[in-house]
């Protein structure tokens, strides 16, 4: 139990820290690398919650594929003028900041007060739900139809991507 808390708190501190470092860095590449660190910490947190599948997918999809995409875009755009990020404070920024702060407080108050009456899961259920085997079984029985629909969605996305990215517009 103590070991669990130690793992949880060290991962929690590391993930919040890396997230903060990510948004405060000037250099976009370094910020992106902190984001990867953040993803790994989150994946660790999922593991402590017995969600092996999500943990693995998180690393594969986010830390893997999406981050590579991010880095590619950053390098392609060759962001040289990152000093622009520190613009003067405008009224619009103050309003946006105030609204964000209000939303944050609202969310916090809801998460603190509004969690009663939630469905309860015991540890056994949690243990079972997180495995690849269980998710695969659900995907091909109960959720077979959404699974098939996803294939159409991906097909449409592929057609669209090819159409828009073709070299010669014909």
């Amino acid at each position: 139990m103590i070991l669990e808390s130690i793992v949880f708190y060290s991962l929690a501190v590391a993930s919040v820290g890396s997230a903060l470092l990510m948004v405060t860095r000037r250099n976009p590449v370094i910020a992106a690398l902190y984001l990867i660190l953040n993803f790994f910490c989150l994946a660790g947190l999922y593991l402590t919650l017995q969600a092996q599948f999500i943990a693995v997918i998180h690393i594969l999809v986010y830390a893997g594929a999406i981050m590579v995409l991010f880095l590619f875009v950053i390098m392609l755009l060759n962001l040289g003028d990152e000093r622009k990020l520190s613009d003067a404070i405008s009224p619009r920024k103050i309003i946006a900041g105030g609204l964000s702060l209000a939303l944050l407080l609202e969310l916090l108050s809801i998460f603190v007060t509004g969690t009663e009456g939630l469905p309860e899961y015991n540890a056994d259920q949690a243990l079972q739900v997180g495995t690849v085997e269980y998710i695969g079984k659900q995907l091909f029985t109960k959720f077979l139809f959404p699974f098939e629909v996803t294939s159409i969605l991906l097909l449409a996305a592929i057609i669209g991507a090819i159409l828009l990215a073709k070299k010669k517009p014909d």
């Binding site: 007060t113 509004g114 469905p119 029985t141 109960k142 139809f145 629909v149 969605l153 449409a156 057609i159």
Partner: protein, 476 residues
Amino acid sequence: MEITISDLWQSAPMVSLTLTGLVALLVESMKGGRTTAVYGLSLAGCALAFVFSLWSLGSEVIVFNGMILQGGYASYFSMVFTSSAFFTIVLSRPYMQRLHREQGVLYILILFATVGMMLMASAMDLIILFLGIELMSVCLYVLTGFVRTKVTSNESAVKYFLLGAFATGFLLYGIALVYGTAGTTNLKLISQSFAQLSGNSLFLMGAGLLVIAFSFKVAAVPFHMWAPDVYEGAPTPVTAFMSTGAKAAAFAAFVTVFIRTFAITGTPISEVVAFIAAASMILGNVTAIAQSNLKRMLAYSSIAHAGYMLSGIAAGSAEGETGILFYLAAYTLMNMGAFGIISWVEQQDDTKLTFDDYAGFSAQRPVVAAMLSVFMFSLAGIPPFAGFFGKYYVFLAAVKADLVWLAVIGVLTSVISVYYYLRLVMVMYFRDGNATIEERVPGFAFAVIGVIAALVILLGLYPSLVVDISKTFFKL
């Protein structure tokens, strides 16, 4: 726990349209790219799906393991979507040929977008709802940017994509919170436990995020910013498709979740929706007055119409649902007609899109001018056209739900809207000029617009044709 033949058979409209799309894709990829074949195939697919929907209108079943509803409500919307897709395909052909940009894949994307819309209208599970919205949106992003040689088309596609992706984030977060509190994504199960859930602030927040996501998709204030730019930049037939089929689909999902699943009357959700409705009606109509570009004017008018229909959702009653269903059928017809005629008049370089370009149109093309006038009168909600009864039903539902103030705003803003709709009619009939359609309009497209105009009048004279059907749909 598996997909059976009877499941597939009972969802014939959706399955047939998907298969048509896949076959058309194969035909398109064959050597020589037979665009005409793809065009014909797509039209046939839409017509077939329409017939299947009409046929299954009377019987309602839940298929695919509780995932989707077929027949009734879903069939009704399938008919709206397939008609919208059919009209769009017919109008796209001459438009794209003029730009020398005709490709069969345009029609295929329209078909897949329609499948996505059907999924949205038939969803009985939030996962299907999400997949439907994404399937529709992904196709629409590409369709918006279809004319790659035009800067405006590209710009609007990027805008639509970025904001749309952002709205999807709200949708997913909302679904996650609803799932977290309800323990299921099945709408039927959620509706059974709504009474307890509606007291839970976490659930309400999830519902609020869903309101944001749907309001974005229907282009309601304050989530409407994308609409004017995207409507203006997209190829006109695609704009027509977006403002009719896509809007109807978003409303189908909105009604499914917020009237059929959640009993929102008397909850804070109802107040929020009422506020959004009022803001959309006021801002949409007032801003539309200032527009000189017709596509932008119709974009703001579409924001206003979203506001009218949202009053039906704020009412949260069966009357509200019936009103929205009728309104969407009428709106799809009249907006498709209006955009169709605009796409004939406009030039390749995005000119001839202002009010002034229609001066003297009635003398040159009296029949087309008369049809455009029918659509404008109907959009303004003047009896005996279909648009009048749409407004009548949703405002009646609002009054019955003690939202008199909302109905009053609706009526007052409708009066404002008469100004800019009839301004076009006035310019066409009473101002001298030689506005005309420069290129020949194919007879088929002309006939289709004629049928739409006839239907707008027919629905205005006999609204019970649609209303009686929609009353028979079963409730969750």
